[in-house]
């Protein structure tokens, strides 16, 4: 248990970073993991090829919320090109905990939303579904 629910994971779950709605989003995507009823709406505000702002809302488990919090932190301020090269395994590294197959979809919910946003922005083709 302590492996999964480390303090920083619970901290990100309770007080997720970048949680909220953007005023002037360039792109918005709503993703869901129907199996667990989790939903995420992610928004990017891109200017001159750089992610100026990122926000997300939705409900989900500690894993999906913490991963959205960590991922949005990571990409904020980065050029789209860098964000595009971000891979699924990088999200797992960010989380820093061992994810069982049953929880992989939770961990990937925000990453999946990001892929759709990048696709919409023409930043890169959709990555293969990681899970």
């Amino acid at each position: 248990m302590d492996d999964l629910y480390r303090d920083y994971i619970l901290e990100h779950y309770r007080r997720p970073h970048n949680f909220g709605v953007l005023e002037t989003p360039t792109a918005t995507y709503e993703g869901s993991n129907p199996l667990c009823g989790d939903r995420i709406t992610m928004q990017l505000d891109v200017e001159d090829g750089v992610v100026r702002e990122v926000g997300f809302t939705g409900r989900g488990c500690a894993i999906s919320q913490a991963s959205a919090s960590l991922l949005t932190d990571e990409i904020k301020g980065k050029p789209l090109a860098d964000v595009s090269s971000f891979a699924a395994t990088d999200v797992l590294d960010l989380l820093g905990i061992e994810i069982s197959p049953a929880r992989l979809k939770c961990a990937m919910l925000s990453f999946d939303a990001l892929q759709h946003l990048l696709d919409e922005l023409g930043a890169k083709p959709l990555a293969n579904d990681p899970a």
Partner: protein
């Protein structure tokens, strides 16, 4: 072709005061329970998803493969005759469990899902046409919803839904209104897999019949938990899953009245469901075989026969008493021991099967289940294949504990203790 031995099923007169189940003795019949998970005794509270299997069932599979395995119906040799006798004999055992007189009315399927799809494809595509109404309920499992969506889409038919009250009981008054639409079919669950609600199936069947509808009942959560007498219920189709009723995975049943089955076209085509095959046309076999194309899951259905006998030996009334007691205990203990816990479904154990959905505010059910697992407690988290019901109750997901004959009050205590740990960890 094989004869199925038909015996009238004696209706047993139950002694007025029933001895309670001896859950400890029963647990000894289930080898899987004797294990520890993450250093704790396994507390299996996911029987609504699939039940565990008594030793008698596991041994029957083993014996089948070590002694009797052969294809059924067409073999004139010892193994095949034994396999056939086992396979058809299991039908008689299941017929007894449901109080069905004619075992030919028992169709073997993989699970309740296939049973319902069989009806949707075979009966439905023949009898449902544009504008016809099918009445379902808001509490249906996807298995009793998606097949009708597919049918309604193909035929341009209408689906109507009996709504539920906030505590998960069907609105019978609205049902009466929907019946005025003269539905061709009314299909509903006997017991809700998410809320535990036991629906008044006899009464609903009678009213549906009076309105001229046929009735399909999804008995996936009823057959394993309470006495089911399909004659008394009077429905037209009754489906359940063997693997939820102490039987092997791959076992399932559709019961329907003989006249209906005989008038229905086949579902899948292939061996054993035919009488004569020519290059461009074929005739069909008698029921039940008309609906059992190809080599069936012989071992699984034999195992289900053993499970049916095990359940009858326990006594379905006593099993129901046992689960009623557990539900009452859970509904009493959980709010006391786990302050703030949200419980859903009817609070009266009289109309509630052994299913207890809950949420810990501030904790996602996935996380609750994950933490419980560290204490050996297995519960389900998610939408339990009832997404529309969750939408209706405005719930993203729930956690669910569900019971069987081997469940004890100790298991519920373990759940309560585990949930306290969940609350501690999440600081709620």
């Amino acid at each position: 072709m094989t004869t199925i031995e038909e015996r009238p099923v004696a209706t047993e007169t139950e002694a007025p005061a029933r001895a309670p189940l001896d859950a400890a003795a029963i647990r000894a019949d289930f080898p899987i329970l004797d294990q520890s998970v993450n250093g704790h005794r396994l507390v299996y509270l996911d029987s609504a998803a699939t039940s565990q299997k008594p030793r008698a069932v596991i041994d029957a599979l083993d014996a089948y493969y070590r002694q009797d395995n052969a294809n059924v119906h067409r073999g004139i040799y010892a193994l095949s005759e034994r396999a056939t006798a086992g396979y058809e004999g299991a039908r008689v055992k299941v017929a007894k469990l449901l109080n069905v007189n004619d075992p030919h009315e028992i169709i073997w399927t993989r699970n309740a899902t296939e049973s319902i799809n069989l009806v949707a494809y075979s009966w439905g595509r023949k009898h449902i046409s544009r504008g016809d109404v099918i009445v379902l309920t808001e509490m249906e499992h996807h298995a009793n919803l998606v097949p009708w969506q597919l049918l309604a889409q193909e035929k341009d038919a209408d689906l109507e839904f009996i709504p539920i009250t906030d505590d998960g009981v069907l609105r019978q008054d609205v049902f009466d209104v929907l019946l005025r639409l003269k539905p061709k079919l009314v299909a509903f669950t006997h017991v809700s897999n998410t809320l535990g609600t036991i629906n008044p199936v006899e009464d609903m069947t009678r009213r549906a019949h009076e309105a001229g509808a046929l009735v399909l009942i999804d008995g996936a959560q009823a057959v394993p938990h309470l006495p089911v007498d399909v004659q008394a219920i009077g429905a037209d189709f009754y489906a359940f899953s063997g693997h939820k009723a102490l039987g092997p995975t791959g076992s399932g049943v559709l019961w329907a009245r003989r006249e209906l089955l005989e008038a229905m076209p086949p579902f899948m085509g292939g061996g054993d469901m035919i009488r004569e095959v020519h290059l461009r046309r074929s005739d069909w076999n008698d029921i039940p075989w008309k609906f059992e194309a190809g080599t069936p899951d012989i071992a699984a259905q034999i195992g289900l026969g053993v499970a049916a006998d095990y359940l009858r030996d326990l006594g379905m009334d006593r099993l129901r008493d046992h689960e009623r007691d557990l539900v009452g205990y859970a509904l009493d203990v959980l709010p006391r021991e786990v302050p703030g816990i949200d419980l859903y479904g009817p609070m009266d154990p009289e109309i509630r099967g052994g299913v207890v959905p809950f949420n810990i505010p501030g904790v996602h059910p996935h996380d609750a289940a994950q933490v419980l697992d560290r204490f050996g407690v297995a519960v389900r988290a998610g939408h339990h294949c009832t997404m529309p019901l969750h939408e209706r109750l405005d719930l993203g997901a729930t956690a669910r504990a569900s019971f069987q004959c081997y469940t004890t009050r100790d298991d519920i205590d373990a759940l309560a203790n585990g949930l306290k740990e969940v609350q501690r960890l999440f600081g709620v």
